[in-house]
């Protein structure tokens, strides 16, 4: 009996290893793959920015608002700077702020969410009520007020974004923790005397990773919006370093003469946002997470 099964399995392996591989990809896997590819592309361009940018992004030239040419692939802006180089280097500032800020919001959200969800009681009440107050502000309005208060600089922008998105992150973490902490394996771990810290990190946290990953990806998409919108209003990283939102704002004045100066940064912002949305949707399906807050 076991021999036949064994033979069948062997036969199946020999004959069907290729047919196994031909299993159709799910839509989630396709999205995830696409998202990862776009992300990799963005990271490569960002890391190699100084190497691949054809010109110094701040170098002006006599040919202002030039049409695309073999030398300036995307033309030049109003004071003759190469648009492509500014786009590549500007992505650095924008994505750096986005990445670091969301990481901070995630870290703060994890600590607050775990504390709130796992400890519960008065700690939960105090943390959630305080976060509710921040949550009551329209995100973008709060970001404007904070960044205007602190003054627009890269560290301040990072801090602002982190403050603004922490409450949402904490909520995403807290929800699943509330139910996971009542599961049997947590009870079992506690009954054999595992320390609370270890329970949280080893038995609760791994169970809530999926929704957090999806929420992080969505937050990254929203952060690209917030950061470029702030820069668009003149509250972004100070000049002369290029950034996408600032490029868009500068180019508006002459956009009918050189539409590419507007379309290029707009395209870059859309591409970056789309990357994280595609990634979030792929992750959601692959990790089988319901809708996240």
């Amino acid at each position: 009996m076991s021999d036949t099964v064994h033979m069948q399995a062997k036969e199946a392996l020999r004959r069907g290893s290729s047919s196994y591989r031909r299993l159709p990809l799910t839509s989630g896997q396709i999205l995830l793959g696409l998202g990862l590819f776009m992300l990799a592309l963005m990271i490569v361009v960002t890391v190699l920015a100084p190497v691949i940018a054809p010109f110094d992004p701040s170098m002006t030239s006599a040919s202002s608002l030039a049409a695309p040419s073999s030398q300036h692939w995307l033309g030049t802006d109003s004071i003759g700077r190469d648009v492509l180089s500014r786009l590549i280097v500007g992505g650095r500032t924008t994505l750096l702020i986005t990445g670091v800020a969301v990481f901070l919001a995630l870290a703060a959200g994890l600590v607050l969410g775990l504390l709130s969800g796992y400890v519960g009681g008065i700690v939960d009440d105090v943390i959630m009520r305080l976060l509710d107050v921040i949550f009551a502000f329209p995100v973008f309005l709060l970001a404007i007020a904070v960044v205007a208060g602190l003054g627009p600089s890269v560290p301040n922008l990072i801090l602002t974004i982190a403050i603004v998105y922490t409450p949402a992150m904490a909520r995403v973490v807290r929800g699943p923790v509330l139910s996971v902490k009542q599961w049997d394996h947590v009870e079992a771990a506690r009954s054999v005397g595992v320390s609370e810290l270890r329970i949280v990190t080893r038995h609760v946290l791994p169970m809530v990773v999926s929704p957090i990953v999806v929420a992080t990806s969505l937050t990254l998409a929203q952060t690209i919006f917030t950061i470029t919108a702030l820069s668009f209003l003149g509250l972004g990283p100070p000049p002369p370093d290029p950034n996408w939102g600032g490029m868009l704002a500068e180019a508006r004045q002459f956009m009918e003469l050189a539409p590419l100066t507007v379309i290029a940064p707009a395209g870059a912002i859309v591409f970056a946002t789309l990357t994280f949305i595609v990634l979030a949707n792929g992750l959601r399906e692959v990790l089988d997470v319901g809708s996240v807050g």
Binding site: I134, F137, A145, A148, A229, L233, R252, L274
Partner: protein
């Protein structure tokens, strides 16, 4: 029900108090004070600055300033603008109405588009579902200020006969006023319509699977009747809730869209005030916008409980 409403009211009041405190502190964290900002680059004698501070009331302890400000704000007195010396409320109100109008039109457009695409997606399934979902994903990736900029660019390049930058007050010419707000409202509405669309799709799919819908079909009711009286009626609750919760997004986005389309609303006012360090104006706008969001959320909660008996716990 009464208990629930009362609890919500108390809770809303508490949140508003917290919000007002944060709004006050945020603005006071602005570097450099107004007396200095008003003096600009000139060298002003310290005594003059001191006198200006005393005059504006910004030399007192913070908590005292907050309580004074709160007491007056509760009576609708947001103080005088540091720049124009006029009462803030009088300057803010007409601008708030413009923003409100823009938000309202955007909300209506977003709701119409969202419900239509969401319904198509849920009812037609298959290819239509895929097209709508891909379209939604792509639209979500285009921020409202980019939509607005591109609209201005396209109109400028290809439809120069359309004047987009002349805002007409409502009472001068209501029709011109509303039609002038259509393009700004559209750029504001697109991203919001995606959220509504996705929620409509989910709500309709969920209701479609319920027994009472099957019963209605089994009775032989017309598909039309089933759709309007059974499906939509029950799916409307989550849709309305989600739309209400998008008010914050609309208000935030209107700051950008107003700046781009040169609409004299609250967003533009806020932007000017931040540049001019006009504390009372910034405080009033942040407080007003947040209060609107908090109140709308409260109304949505109460309405939800009123419609859906299951949520009354």
């Amino acid at each position: 029900m009464k208990r629930m409403i009362l609890a919500r009211l108390v809770w809303t009041a508490a949140i508003l108090l917290g919000v007002s405190f944060v709004a006050f502190m945020l603005v006071r964290a602005l570097p450099g004070d107004f007396a200095q900002a008003a003096a600009g680059a000139q060298n002003v004698a310290p005594e003059v600055l001191e006198a200006a501070r005393r005059d504006l009331g910004i030399d007192r302890p913070l908590l005292e300033q907050y309580l004074i400000w709160l007491g007056q704000a509760a009576r609708g007195d947001f103080g005088n603008s540091f720049v124009t010396r006029q009462p803030v409320l009088g300057e803010l109100l007409p601008r708030f109405i413009v923003t409100f109008q823009l938000t309202l039109i955007a909300g209506i457009i977003a709701m119409a588009m969202g419900v239509a695409t969401g319904l198509a997606s849920a009812r037609l399934r298959g290819r239509a579902d895929w097209i709508v979902r891909i379209y939604n994903g792509c639209i979500l990736a285009v921020p409202n200020f980019i939509v607005a900029t591109l609209i201005v660019l396209i109109v400028g390049l290809y439809f120069p006969q359309i004047a987009i930058f002349n805002y007409t007050p409502f009472f001068t010419d209501p029709l011109a006023n509303v039609s002038g707000l259509l393009l700004p409202a559209l750029s504001l509405a697109l991203a919001v319509s995606v959220t509504i669309s996705e929620n409509t799709r989910a709500a309709v799919l969920e209701v479609s699977g319920q027994d009472f819908v099957m019963v209605a079909r089994a009775k032989g009711l017309l598909p039309r009747t089933v759709l309007t009286n059974y499906l939509m009626r029950n799916a409307m609750t989550p849709i309305v809730t989600v739309t209400g919760l998008q008010v914050a997004t609309l208000l935030g986005g209107s700051i950008l869209v107003e700046t781009i389309f040169a609409i004299p609303g609250m967003g533009q006012y806020l932007f000017d005030s931040i540049t001019g360090r006009d504390y009372p104006v910034i405080q009033a706008i942040v407080l007003l916008a947040s209060a609107v969001v908090v109140l709308v959320n409260m109304l949505v909660d109460i309405a939800y409980a009123r419609i859906d008996a299951r949520a009354q716990t």
